[in-house]
Structures are given as C-alpha cells and as structure tokens.
Amino acid sequence: MARLVYDKDGRLLFTKEMRKEYTMIFPMMAPIHFRILKEVFNNMGYHAELLETTGPEIAQTGLKYVHNDTCYPAILAIGQLIHAVQSGKYDTHKIALMITQTGGGCRASNYIHLLRKALARAGLGYVPVVSLNLSGMEKNPGFKLTLSFIRRAIAGLIYGDTLMLLKNQCEPYEINKGETNALVEKWSAYFVERLSKSKGYSLKEMKRNIFKLTDEFALIKCDRSKPKLKVGVVGEIYVKYSSLGNNSLEDFLKDQDCEVNLPMMLGFILFKIDNRLEDIRLYGGSKLKKIVCTLLLDYCTKTEDIIVSSISRYDCFNTPGKYAHLKSLVKDVIGYGDKMGEGWLLTAEMMELVESGYENIVCTQPFGCLPNHIGGKGMIRRIVELMPNANIVAVDYDAGAVKVNQENRIKLMLSIGRENMLKK
C-alpha cells in the first residue's frame, strides 16, 4: 500500500506510487466531454473513473458534509465524490479524488478545500485529493499537467463540443429515432480508441476527424419543415452542463418540443486563457506570461477554427460563434476585466445566441451565484434593450429549489417564445 506523504503545510500528496496503485475518481459534468476526457487520463498512465451516479442521495451527502450556503455545484460535486467513496464499491485506501480549481476570484477555487474538510468530517482524511488547474496551484509528485496532456485534453474537449453541438441540432428533427445518438456513441468510441493509442490529438487529425464527423451528422435524415422553438442554455458552467445540477433541463426542454443550444466548453477555456492577457493589458504584468498565454490562446483558436469551418459548410447547421466574435459583441456592454466565474463571457453567449436565432434563453445559476449577479442577471436588462427580441429567463438551482417552480418559469418563457415565433 502506498505511503501517505504530506507537504510542509500538511497537505496529503498524490505520490508517484499512488499513480500506479490508486484509482482517481472525478465527478460528472458534461457526459459527452467527460467520457472522452476520462480516456485522456487513462492514456497518460492514470486509472481514472468518471462517476455516473445519480439520485437524491448525492445532494443529501453533499448537504451533510458541506456548508449549506455554499454554491450548489460544490454540494453536488463533493456529494457525488463522498457518496462514491462511502458506497463500498472502492477500497478507500486505493482511491484518490480529483476536482478542478479555477484559481479565479469566485468561490469555485475553494471547492477543493471544502472537499478536504468534508473528507475529514467523514473520517476519510487519508484519501488524497488532486487539484486540476492551469494556475500552478497545489503541485503533486504523482500528477503533472504536461504539454502533451494539455494537448490531448483540448482534443477531447473539442471532440466533445462538436458532438454536443451537432447532436443538439439533429436529434430533435431526426426521422429515425435514435440515429443521432448512435452516431454520437460511435464517434465517442472512436475518439476513445484513438486517444488510448496516443493518437487523434494533432491538429491535422483533429481536422480530418471533425470534418468527417460533421459530414456524417449532415447525412442523418431530418425533417426540419416544422420549426421547433430554439432555446439557448447558458449559465454557471456546472449547472449549465450537468443534468444533476439543472434538474435535467435539457430533457425537459426536449420534451417541450424545443431545439436546445448549449454553447461550447471551448469558449470557457479560451476565456480563461484570455483573462490573463486582459489582466496584463489592464493592470500591467510579466512579458513571459503574456507570451505563454498568447501561444496557448492561438493554439486553442486554431482548434476553434476547425469546428467552425467544418460546421459552416452546411446550411442546415447553425455555425457556433467564434470567441473573438463573442468578445466583440459585448464591447460596449460589459468590461473585459470581468473575469470571475463566467464573467463577461456569459453576457456574450446570450447575445451570440440571440444573434444566431436562439432568442429564447435559460440563464442558469446556482442560488446566490456571485459572478452571475453581474454577468448574468445583472446584464439581462441591457441585452433586452439592445436586442428586443431576446426572451430570457433566469433560473436559480439549489438543493431547496423545487422543480415545479423552475419548470413553470421556463414554461412562461417558452409561451412567449412560441407567440413570437407565430408572429414571424
């Protein structure tokens, strides 16, 4: 059994030994993306496991071990992890937990500490926790974000984004039920296989794959003659993507006969890199940092180009807006210095959705989400002034919020959306 090693501040480290022996488990957020990402970890020599658990016990476990006023994503993600550790499925002396840490000024950077406090309370202080971040926080001897790792992760992400975008645009219209999903499964399996062979992450192959994939989705037999209500979903990243966090919002909208559009996760990554450059521009900062961030930003922009150029070949698909375009949309609306949480990107995503025909928007956030007071709820009025056809509802998610109320509010937005659609 691996020896427990602590750093000078008493933090339990994830050692090289653990890397061999331990299973690293991480909580679910966006299924298509995360299932592919899991493979990236395995390919890099870790034993990763993605939690697919659902049910009310997860929130209950979270509420039991995490301060109840903390944001809902923390309660769920930590709840899901602790629930798994306590499930009896794992040898608790051979698992490590993994959680992201953004390093920004919002509470999310503290989830990892809340997780450790929760473990300690549950008598599981010996389970190591690994921080996944791009800011160089909390280093571990057994876990390193190498350049090749980052490249693979970005590949996984953009594959996930493309599959998500196309799935959302085909599934509501497909004639043969299940065809779209089968294609998602097929391609996901293919990406997993390529990544497990250390392949599939060069820009060249990414381009080849994504173009081919788009072609295949374009071949799905669809009936788009009866227009569906187009609904965009934006918000705090966890509740936006996670069905556990948003009470299966996507399914609900699909049941209400809508086409759903979730903006790409890549946009968030670009935003987080670009923030560092904006900081330097606004306040001053190191040249080296500027060079590194610019390189990374350029690389990610190239991957974005691949998705956009591939999808734009087909009229039947809505081409996602580029990050640079999103940024230009909010120029006179909100400052680029607003970088905490989703910051100005949230405002930009709403505006881009309205611009590309997804006028009806659900803006999701955990109850009391601090950054969304600004970029979400704080900007809706301004957006509606600038784009009078925007029809936005802000919905709070929380362990205490009730589905029936949330759905009622969304239904109101949908009723107005339908009325607007008829007018056209």
Partner: protein, 980 residues
C-alpha cells in the same frame, strides 16, 4: 361551443365557463387544501351536471403551477398562468401598461407596453398571499380584520420586505414592545409592496395604467392603497380581478374535448408515489411504546398550591409566539403553570396570570422572580421582576436539573432554534437560527392549519407513515413548494406530516448547528422547547442523530422553569413584584417616536406604567434612555464613522477640472481616502454620497436586477441615484478584480460582487442614461503601484479628452493617494491600540467586531456596534489586529481575498489573546462567507475561544443579536469565574 378555464393556484382553484359570446356564465373560487386531483374531479363533475347539461364537447384548458403535474399526466391542455393573465388583460383592459398580480404564493408583474416583459418571483421571494395570512395569524386577526386595522394606521414601520420569515422577526419585537396593531398591519402591506417592487421591477419603472389582480389585491383595499401610495399612481382593480388567469386560459383554449373523457383521465390520474422518501418514524406499535416509556422518565413533579405554605419562585418566558409562566416551590416542584400563545403584546397576558395567582392565593410569598425571552425588558419593567436573563442561560439552568452532566442543549421553539454546547460547565458554543430558517415550530403549525388540521392531530398522523417525504433542509418558503411537489407526486398527508417533522430536525442540525455526525454534539443531549413535545419531531431527532436524548416532561416550559430556578439561586432581600393592589390599578400606555440622536434613527416605543414609570424599547444604545453621552465609549466603529464624516464632506478646492461624484458603498468604505485624495490632487472637486439611510436605499430600489445579491451591494443603487439627484454630472466608481495586496494570503482578490458591481450599476440604473451622466467604471489595479499611474493616465485621457494631463502630475497625485490610504489605516491602528490599552486599564472585555469595511455603514450594521458597546465592552475591528500578525498563517481554505484574509489573521490573533473575543458580522447572501465563517470558527475553536456569528440583512431587529451577545458575555463571565 363553451370554453372553460381552470386556474389552480397554490391555495385556491378558480374556474370560469364562457358561452359562445365569451360571457361568463359560471365562475367559482374555492380553496383546494392541496387536494388538487380530487378538487378538479369534483369541479368537472359539477360543471357536467349543473352547467353544461347536454353540451359536453367544450374547449377547455388548465393553468397554474399546482396544476402542471396533473395536466401532464392526464393530457389536459395547459396554459402558463402569467401568459394567460396577459391574454385576458389584452382583451378586457387593452390600455393597461402594467399588471401587478399577487396570488397565494406568487407575485407577478407584467409590463405590457414598450417591450413586453414578464416577471415572477424567484425561489427566494416567498409567497405574498400566504405571507399576509401568516402575518394576520401573528396578529391574531383574520384577513378582513387586518385590512380594517390598516385603515386606522398612524405610522408605518420598516419591516424587512425580503421574505416572510424576515418580516416576522421584525414584527414580533414591534408587537412585544407594544407597537399599535393598526400600524403593524399597515406596515405589513407596505412590506409586501416593497417586496414586490424590489424583487420584480428590476429596473423598470411601474407607471401608466396599472391593473391589480389576484386574491390579496382584490380583497384588501388597504394593500391597493399602499401600492398606489408607493407607486404614486392610481391603479384599478377590474371586475373579475380574481379570474383573469382562468379567463385567459379559457380564451386560449382551442382544443375541443369531450368532458366525460377528460374527467375519466383525471380520475385515473395515478398516485405514483414517485417522490424521495425516508424510513418510517416508527415501524410498529412496540417501537412506539418503548419510546414513550423511555421519555416518560424525565419528569418534574407538578403539585397543587393548596397544601403548600412555603415561598415561591416565579419564572416567566415571554417568547416570540408563546408565553410561559411557572411558579415553583422551594423544593423545585411546579405549583402553577401557564402556557399561552402570544397575541402580540405580552403585558396584558402576564397581568391576567398574576391576577389569577393572587386570586388563588392572596397571601402568596414570591421570594424572587426572573424573566427571559423576547419580551424580557418590557415584562421586567411592567411588573418589577427581579432578574432579566438571556434565554440560553435560562435553558441551560433548566436542562442541568434533568441531566447534570448535559453537554448539549437544543431548544426548538415557535420561531427560534437555540442550541449550545457545554464545555467545562459553561456555555461554549451558541447556535441560533439565522433569520432565513426560523420556520421551526410555527412553521409546522401554519402548515397544519393550511392543510386543515390542528397541530397535534397533524403531527400524530405522521407517526406511522410508511414513506415520510424527504423535504431536505431548507427554509419555510422552499419547504412550501417542496410539499406541493410531493403532493403532486402522490404523497399522502401522513407522509407529508412525517416528512415535515424530519425537515424541522434537519434544519436544526444541518442548517443551524451544521453537524456532520452526532459525536460532535456529545453524548448527553437535552432537547426542549414546545416543538419537542411533538413526538414525531422528537423521534425524527433521535433517528437523525442515532442517539437517545432526554426530553423533560415540561419541555415546553423549560425557559420559564429555568428562570424560576435562576431566581432561586440568586437570593434577593426583597421581591419587588407588583402587588395585588397595584395590579388592580395597572396602567400601560404606549407611544411611538423616532430617536433623533444618531443616524440609526431607532424607532422607540415608550411604555408608560402607573406611578409614572417609563420603559423605552427599540433602542440600540443607552443614549435615549440615560441621556448620557457615549463619547468616552470605546468603540472603533464610531471613530471610523467620524473619520468618514470628514471624507464625505465636499472638497474645499475650486475643482478646476470639474466635479467627480463617488458613491459611498462596498470597497469605497476603505478606498475613499485614496480616490478622494487622488482626484483632489488632480484639481477635481469631489462630492461623496452620505452614509446610507432607508430612504436613500428606496431611491434606488427599483433598479436592482438580482434580488438575492447582498444588501450592501443593493445599497449602491441608492447612492448613485442620490448623486445624480444632487446634480453630479460625472460619477467615478471603478471595477477592481484585485484589492490592495497585504501579502498575507495566496492572492488578493475582491469578491465578484465588490469587484464588478459598477457593471451592474451601469447596466441597470436608467437615470444615468436619461441624465447623460458620465459614469466611469474603468478597471483599475491599484495593487500594482508602479503600473497604476500609467494606466490611470490613460483612463483620464480617455474620459477627459478636452483636458491635458501629464504623467508627472498623475504620478504625484498617485503618491499622495497611496499616502492618504496609509494615513487612514495608521489612524485606525493607532486609535485601535488606544482603545485596547484603555479597555485593559478598565478591565473591559474587548470584542473584535469583524466583517468587511462596508459594515461600517450604519444602515448595514444597524447600530450593532452601539448595542454591543452598551454592555460595557470595548469594540475594535479586524484590520487592527490583523496587522499585528506579521507573517502568513496556515489556513485550510484558499486564502485569496484581501478582506477575508484579514478575518483569518484576526481570528488567529484573538485566539492567542486572553481578553479578546471575535464576533463576525456576515451579510445575508454573502457567498464568500459560507467559506470564511467555517474557517474563522475553526481557528477560534482550536484556540479554545467561542465563535459568534451575526447575520445581517435589511432586517432591523436586534433581538436575536442581543441574545448572542449576552450569551457570549455570560459564557465569558462563567469562564472567568471558573478560572478564578
């Protein structure tokens, strides 16, 4: 063909039937008591027989959130209710601009012109009709009476308008202090108005033709008047104002349906049992019997007064919803007891009880007496009770009687949860419920009556429920909707009853005490308070913790019993309690006035008793009572406020370059010296908005886009509007991701709200655009001293194009600004040290009243500093002691916010300093403090200190705060006694 519209609201079901000419030929309005499926069935059968006769093909639809589930399951056409309202208004009142509709639990505003917008209350705003119901029952009147009362109003009190629970804790003390019911009733209506506007208008002005719809606005003329008054308009409440939703639904109905078929589908609406549930409270009768036998052991003898000739001790617990009185003999047996609900003013109730006692035993010898609870002060003064003690002490004394080695006491009363740990025989750690979850006992009661039961019957129903609903741990408002959902999913009344009992317990454990495991509470637990008389709640508590606890037989009387026991231990020469004769001539007059001594403007209630005795309530400090100056009090808040008064004064310079307005809020409470100096050095004249007041807040209230943001942020709207009203043309309010770097943490961020609130102001305060205000919200980084002048020069050039600025000039100005900031900080530290030294000289306790710089605002801190210092303790702030810690400290959180970093440092310093204690002020809705509070507590507790947290919001009631502070102080006293 006839059209039918049904509207299933949270409490009522409304129905209209229209003929071919769209005339109403039938309408009904009735309560559904949450038996929704049955009611719809009944209604449809009635329509079939009595209204439709042979024409059974109709166009029918249903609306309302409570009907959503059944609509889906039985394929009943559904129309969203706000949407339906709009359809109806367009048809019936086409020139309407704005609709305000209040329902049982919903509030809605619809803007129909200039861009249609629809607003519904969010998850937090709570119910309005239900809220008024609740408030009426608090006043002990029904809904018509409350309206009649409001007609007689003389003045309006400020009642927190955010959610019912908050308002309740404002109203209760008002009543206890003897405020007029008429004024309270009217104030409740104004609270509803403010809640609706603050929560829903979100920056849009309510003007033009306003339409009032829904039950409360239809039935309550005074509520309409309150809306008219605040909106400065004259709204109309049209014919059929109750039926707009059902009318709109009927108009929208376009599907032809054969009614009997639909009725069949509704009948078959299956109760799926598809809700989260927990194990039963009791599986069988044996389990129940064992439980009852075990708890019957904790008894205190209750004897008659007849055969006893000794002396008596009187204990009174004047609680928020109930009043308890105990007369104890010298052996500790109870000889007389009373338990009555508090209809508002406790004085006449106690008077009546004392009269009864004097009648029963005219020659009674009351040796000593004590009173505790919300009404402590007034009762003590009205009847000359010997001692007033804080509730926690009363409960501790009583609990010890049943379990001498008790290490944890939890008391769930009508409106509060109080619990505390006992460490080395002293109260060590106090938990009181924050205003947001105080539902507790009174919640169970309201719920029972809403469902048509009395509380005793209702809770008994749950004892053997098979599947208690899992309602989680949440505040009342959320609970309401959770229950609705469970009912929709087919939970029985038994399951709901048991579920609510478990929810109350979970609230106490996970929201208030925040335990992980029962070990944390110790092994010897005494539970008490009226709510634990309820066996379902008691059982739920034991199940949740997995331990056996002691519930005294007089669980509901423990406060009063504890007071009596206390009176017995404290010997007095002479009990001065009012005599029989005095009671006969008892006079109690109440007068209300505003104190004008300081900006807190406390609303004082002056109670006059016979013989000219006067008692003043509602005061925060002793000034209005003793007329003493408090200049020599050791209170750093006052000093800081004085310093700021200087900074608030307009600049003395000419302002060659123009005038800049700065709103005094959030981080400006520390950075104002910096910015003011900077602009003055650049030859600008600086105008600053004043300390916040209620009316300043109201100036900006309608422009707040997020009702859940913290109160300090909300106040900014008023400040900006105020500056504009003063004629300021240029306002400077910068965005700041980063705060000053004090090099004691991992980073030095501001929280997202402090950092970017200028963006919210810019996007939502319309007057800025209307008046063409030059609003500067640039992103600045004063943490980079070298870069800042260059960056700031660019900002100046960008915004003042017609003027020249040189780098040298800006650099000089920046130098002065940094110096001014440092000077300010140094003054604070110097004064802080002086206070510490003086306090030590006088052997006074020192409280580090910690929070954020903006907690200095009197409208935010509600004068808590003054209240605390009236207990003869010295008050300093966290920045003073944080500076004394010279190196980084190890914390178990990411230490990345400057303000919060100071809290950890302060906690660690206080932990190592004997005569200091820390009290943390936390603004409601502050997400970041969910992280800091736990860490600060940990640091203090590791050092053997008591952690005290005070949550503050718009709320102005200091009752709960007083309990905490007094408990803390008496615990400290106990500790000191122990250590000799």
């Amino acid at each position: 063909m006839k059209r039918i519209g049904l509207d299933i609201g949270s409490t009522t079901i409304k129905c209209v039937v229209l003929n071919e000419e769209d005339q109403i030929i039938y309408s009904s309005y009735e309560r559904h008591l949450s038996k929704i499926a049955e009611k719809i069935e009944e209604l449809l059968s009635r329509l079939e027989k009595e209204v439709l006769h042979e024409e059974l093909d109709v166009k029918i639809a249903l609306s309302g959130s409570a009907g959503m589930g059944i609509a889906e399951a039985s394929d009943f056409p559904f129309v969203q209710e706000v949407y339906a309202t709009r359809i109806a208004a367009k048809k019936l009142q086409p020139d309407t601009n704005v609709i305000i509709e209040l329902g049982g639990e919903d509030a809605k505003i619809l803007f129909l012109t200039d861009g249609v917008e629809v607003r519904m209350n969010g998850t937090c705003a709570g119910g309005t009709g239900a809220f008024i119901d609740q408030m009426a029952s608090l006043l002990n009147v029904d809904i018509t009476e409350i309206n009649a009362l409001a007609e007689q109003k003389e003045k309006i009190y400020t009642i927190a308008s955010r959610c019912g629970v908050f308002a309740k804790s404002d109203i209760q003390p008002l009543l206890n202090q003897g405020a007029r019911k008429e004024d309270v009733a009217a104030s409740i209506f104004y609270a509803v108005v403010n809640q609706t506007i603050a929560g829903l208008a979100q920056g849009r002005e309510i003007s033009g033709n306003v339409l009032y719809l829904g039950g409360p606005l239809t039935f309550l003329s005074e509520l309409r008047k309150a809306f008219d008054d605040v909106l400065k308009t004259k709204g109309i409440c049209p014919e059929n104002s109750l039926y707009y939703v059902s009318l709109g639904t009927a108009y929208s109905a376009d599907q032809v349906i054969h009614l009997p078929t639909l009725l069949e589908r509704v009948k078959n609406y299956s109760h799926l049992g598809n809700f989260a549930f927990q194990p039963p409270l009791f599986h069988n009768q044996e389990e129940y019997d064992e439980f009852i036998t075990r708890h019957n052991k904790a008894q205190v003898a209750i004897l008659s007064m007849d055969d006893y000739q000794g002396g008596y001790y009187l204990g009174i617990d004047a609680g928020s919803t109930t009043i308890k009185l105990v007369l104890m003999d010298e052996e500790g047996n109870i000889r007389y007891q009373a338990y009555m609900s508090n209809a508002g003013n406790p004085v006449p109730l106690i008077k009546k009880e004392l009269e009864k006692i004097y009648t029963l035993k005219p020659d009674i010898k009351i040796l000593s007496s004590a009173v505790t609870g919300y009404g402590e002060d007034i009762i003590k003064n009205a009847f000359r009770i010997n001692f007033g003690i804080v509730e926690t002490i009363a409960h501790f004394v009583a609990a010890k009687k049943f379990m001498p080695n008790v290490d944890f006491v939890i008391d769930i009363g009508g409106q509060d949860i109080k619990c505390f740990k006992i460490h080395n025989g002293a109260i060590d750690n106090i938990f009181l419920n924050e205003a947001c979850s105080s539902g507790c006992g009174s919640f169970l009661q309201t719920f029972a009556s809403a469902l048509g039961y009395d509380i005793a019957t209702f809770s008994k129903l749950g004892l053997f429920a098979k599947k208690p609903v899992d309602l989680g741990s949440r505040c009342t408002v959320f609970m309401n909707s959770a229950v609705k959902q469970a009912q929709k999913d087919g939970a029985t009344i038994e399951d709901i009853s048991a579920g609510l009992s478990r929810a109350v317990v979970k609230n106490a454990l996970y929201k208030v005490i925040r335990v992980g495991t029962s070990d944390e509470l110790g092994k010897n637990i005494v539970v008490q308070g009226g709510t634990f008389l309820n066996n379902a709640v008691l059982r739920a508590f034991e199940l949740e913790l997995g331990v056996h606890v002691v519930r005294p037989s007089i669980s509901g009387l423990m406060g009063a019993y504890g007071a009596a026991l206390y009176a017995r231990t404290m010997r007095v020469k002479d009990s001065e309690i009012v005599s029989k004769e005095e009671l006969e001539n008892f006079v109690h007059e109440i007068q209300v006035m505003n104190c004008k001594i300081c900006p807190n403007n406390c609303r004082l209630t002056i109670n006059k008793f016979a013989n000219g005795r006067v008692f003043i309530g509602g005061n925060r400090c002793e000034k209005p009572v003793t007329k003493k100056s408090v200049a020599n009090q050791l209170n750093l808040y006052e000093y800081k406020q004085k310093l700021f008064e200087e900074y608030i004064k307009p600049s003395q310079n000419e302002g060659k370059r123009g005038t800049i307005g700065i709103p005094l809020g959030l981080n400006q409470y520390e950075l104002l010296p910096f910015w003011k100096t900077l602009f003055e050095a650049l030859d600008f004249k600086v105008v600053v908005s004043p300390f916040s007041t209620r009316s300043l807040y109201l100036e900006g209230q309608s422009t707040i886009p997020s009702d859940t943001v913290c109160f300090p942020a909300k106040l900014l709207h008023g400040h900006v509007v105020h500056l504009v009203h003063q004629g300021v043309q240029t306002i400077f309010y910068p965005c700041m991701s980063y705060n000053v770097d004090e090099r004691k943490g991992d980073n030095h961020y501001n929280c997202p709200v402090v950092a970017y609130y200028p963006e919210v102001i810019n996007a939502n305060v319309k007057i800025l655009e209307r008046e063409h205000i030059h609003f500067i919200k640039e992103y600045v980084g004063i943490h980079r001293k070298k870069d800042f002048p260059h960056k700031f020069l660019n900002i100046l050039k960008e915004h003042f194009k017609d003027q020249d600025f040189t780098l040298k000039e800006v650099k000089n100005a920046c130098k002065k600004a940094y110096q001014a900031y440092e000077d300010y900080e140094n003054k604070i530290v110097l004064k802080g040290d002086e206070i510490i030294a003086n306090a030590r000289k006088n052997h006074q306790q020192i409280i580090v009243l910690s929070g954020r710089p903006y907690h200095l605002d009197p409208e935010i801190n509600h004068g808590i500093d003054k209240m605390i210092s009236s207990f003869n303790v010295a008050i300093i702030t966290e920045d003073v002691v944080a500076r004394k810690v010279k190196q980084k400290i190890l914390v178990h959180v990411l230490n990345q916010w400057t303000y919060h970093s100071r809290l950890y440092l302060a906690a660690s310093y206080v932990g190592k300093t004997d005569d200091m204690n820390l009290v943390q002020l936390v603004s409601f809705g502050c997400g970041v403090d969910a992280i800091t509070t736990d860490e600060v507590r940990d640091i203090l507790e590791k050092n053997g200190k008591i952690y005290t947290q005070i949550k503050i919001d718009e709320i102005t009631n200091l009752g709960a705060v007083k309990i905490r502070i007094r408990s803390l102080l008496s615990a400290l006293e106990e500790k000191e006694k122990k250590h000799g």
